[in-house]
């Protein structure tokens, strides 16, 4: 036995401080590790799945909105202009002659052909037969 009073006495099992026991970390077994990994994986899968569903719903919604928008646009373009009835003469009961469904295309056709007929070149002066000397000799005309 030592006579040194300052020497630290050996610690017996009962004398281990509670603080040290609390901080002691027990190593995990392989089974526990596998369970933990599986749990994490499941959580990750759930997150991805919910994200996919969210994107799918949003995309579908957007697509439907687009379809609706297109339909509305078509409807609007097909919608006839409202008939403007201003301060016009009182409606007549007898039918007046209709001019038929005259289109701008038809009017353009008529105008174009008329202009083409007016502008046609029936002289073709650029292609006049050349006046060449086809009797070249030493004799002069004079």
């Amino acid at each position: 036995m030592s006579n040194d009073f300052f020497e630290t006495p050996p610690i017996s099992g009962e004398s281990i401080p509670y603080r040290d026991l609390q901080e002691e970390i027990m190593p995990l077994t392989d089974e526990q590790k596998a369970q933990l990994a599986k749990k994490d994986q499941n959580q990750e899968d759930k997150k991805i799945k919910s994200l996919k569903t969210y994107i799918f719903i949003m995309g579908g919604g957007l697509f439907l909105v687009l379809i609706l928008l297109i339909i509305v646009m078509i409807k609007i373009s097909q919608k006839q202009n409202p008939v403007l009835v201003g301060a016009s003469p009182t409606p007549e009961t007898t039918a007046k002659p209709l001019g038929g469904n005259l289109t701008q295309e038809m009017v353009n056709q008529v105008n174009k052909v008329e202009k083409d007929i007016q502008d046609v070149d029936l002289q073709e002066l650029d292609l006049s037969y050349p006046q060449l000397d086809f009797n070249i000799s030493l004799e002069t005309e004079n």
């Binding site: 209709l98 005259l102 050349p130």
Partner: protein
């Protein structure tokens, strides 16, 4: 950005490809006029050299005359060659000229173009020609004068009649398109106007036929009288001018019809009819609607 450039390039290429024919035809005509101008200059120089030679009879003046004569002979052949080329391109680019006419006249023109090119090359390659050599080569071309005149005038008349044929066809198409509008209209006198337009087109067609007969029977077959060829072409031009007047009359009738229909649409509509037309407008093109409208007219 690159894609945009690519499409622009494609568009420009297509545009140029499409207009190549027209550009070539214009270039041929311009080349002909340019060569013709060069011939006039060469001929003036030849005349000076000729009078100088006749006056002095020296070897120097003879050599000068030989050079000027060679130049004028080559240039004369060149003018005829470019003239035929211009006619050929014009024939090919004029709408209304029949394919058979293009093929027939094109083949004749090609023959002469080839012959003239050979004539030019031969004269140009002569090492030291004498005056009599050159006059001999000159006569070979001069013998074909009448053929050239007839071919040139026939081609020109065919181009002109082709133009009128095309316009006649266009007006005829417009008139047949207009008929459905006139039939669906309640304005009765429009039918008479339409018939007037049709008559004018028919008159123009008859005159065109006369012109075509003159081209095929009188002009193309006339190899004896050069003056007559010129007279026939003038005659054809007068007939085509008359035909143009008839077509213009027909076109004016069509325009009157359109004006009248436009007036009717703008001024004579009343709310009741507008409402009716609004509901029926989509159906007016439909023949069923046309039939019902014409039925109403008959009932009235």
């Amino acid at each position: 950005m690159n894609l945009k450039l690519f499409f622009i390039t494609i568009f420009i290429s297509l545009f140029f490809l499409n207009s190549t024919h027209f550009i070539y035809a214009q270039r041929e005509v311009e080349d002909y006029n340019y060569q013709y101008e060069k011939y006039r200059e060469a001929y003036k120089d030849f005349e000076v050299a000729r009078s100088d030679f006749v006056k002095h009879q020296t070897l120097t003046s003879q050599n000068e005359l030989i050079e000027q004569l060679r130049r004028v002979l080559i240039q004369r052949a060149q003018v005829m060659r470019t003239y035929f080329l211009a006619l050929k391109y014009k024939l090919n680019t004029t709408a209304g000229v029949a394919n058979s006419e293009k093929a027939e006249l094109g083949a004749s023109l090609d023959d002469h173009i080839g012959w003239l090119q050979n004539n030019m090359d031969t004269i140009e390659d002569l090492p030291s020609p004498t005056l009599s050599d050159l006059f001999e080569y000159s006569k070979r071309l001069e013998k074909q004068d009448a053929d050239y005149l007839i071919l040139g005038y026939t081609s020109l008349a065919t181009i002109l009649s082709g133009k009128m044929r095309n316009l006649h066809q266009q007006l005829l198409n417009v008139n047949s398109n207009l008929k459905s509008y006139v039939d669906s209209s309640n304005i009765k006198f429009l039918t008479n106007w339409w018939k007037e337009a049709d008559d004018s087109i028919l008159k123009a067609r008859n005159k065109l036929t006369n012109a075509e007969t003159l081209i095929n029977e009188e002009l193309a077959g006339n190899t004896s009288n050069e003056n007559k060829v010129v007279t026939i072409l003038s005659e054809i031009q007068v007939i085509l001018k008359d035909s143009q007047t008839d077509l213009l009359n027909g076109s004016k009738y069509q325009k009157e019809i359109i004006n009248e229909m436009g007036k009717s649409l703008n001024l004579e509509l009343n709310p009741k009819q507008e409402a009716k037309q609004g509901s029926d407008s989509a159906q007016i093109k439909d023949k069923t609607a046309d039939a019902s409208i014409s039925g109403e007219i008959k009932n009235e």
